[in-house]
Amino acid sequence: MKVRVLIRLKPGIMDVQGAAVQRALGGLGFADARGLRVGKLIELDVDAATPAQARNRVDEMCQRLLANTILEDYAIDVEGAERLAPSEQVR
């Protein structure tokens, strides 16, 4: 089952990388770019019988390695699963 994990710095944690990229965009004339933050997208296949099972498994992976929950939040998107409004989860 294909799963995507979106990992982002928690709100309120300064993203110096995002700020630098936003400044670079400004230099290219994109002065309208605002609030830019850089995250990570991880894609993987998981052997699982149901989307819920895949989600639980990947959640465990996030807790143990993929995300540092001191700094980062994560959102899991299982392909084919009823979308639990991932866009909202992520926003």
């Binding site: 944690i13 390695l65 993929l66 700094l71």
Partner: protein
Amino acid sequence: MRFGVVVFPGTWSDCDFHYVISEVIRQPVKYVWHRDRNLDDLDCIVLPGGFSYGDYLRAGAVAGRSPVVEALPEFLSRGGLVLGSCNGFQILCEAGLLPGALMRNECLQYRCQSTHVVVDNVETPFTRALRPGQVLQMPISHGEGKYHADIETVRALRAHNQIVFRYATAEGKVTKAANPNGSLDNIAGIVNAEGTVLGLMPHPERAAESAMGGTDGLLLFHSLLGSLVEDGTFSKR
């Protein structure tokens, strides 16, 4: 005192630590491969600087789950001591052996320079040869050394006197200008609640002979040796 210097793929300060331990303080030392779980014949484990596993995912993330790091809690429960410098500090935080996390330097630059740190806690096995408020000069060399922790964690660190080193001026003043990476509270090094695990961003092994430009880092090694002679913890094993 028997030292083990851990080597991950991508470690770069292993030879420096090995040299200082074997040639400067003249103690038995061996390299420990990252897959090794057997630490029975060792008293102090050193996690050196570098880019373990390429620092893929996050600095120290993969190394923090390696077999040798998984063996550390048991090693500590037997009375062992662990010193992590630079990438070693990042690994200890990633492994949960120290609280908080290290993130990209606020200035975005990789900082390779000499720094001063002031010593806040001399009651640890790593700092007992020092005076409170003493200033040490040691180099740093990192891109991700900004210490971060939530407010409760910082309160606990302060309450238990776990903040050991803070970036300061040569006179020992903790100022924003003396902070090379934007670390919270100028934190350069902390210990766990038991005082048996030290993580610091500076490199004591690169300030251990006058030919290197300074010997302040050696004081950490002397503290370690002094601790063992005084309390005899390790002679029992």
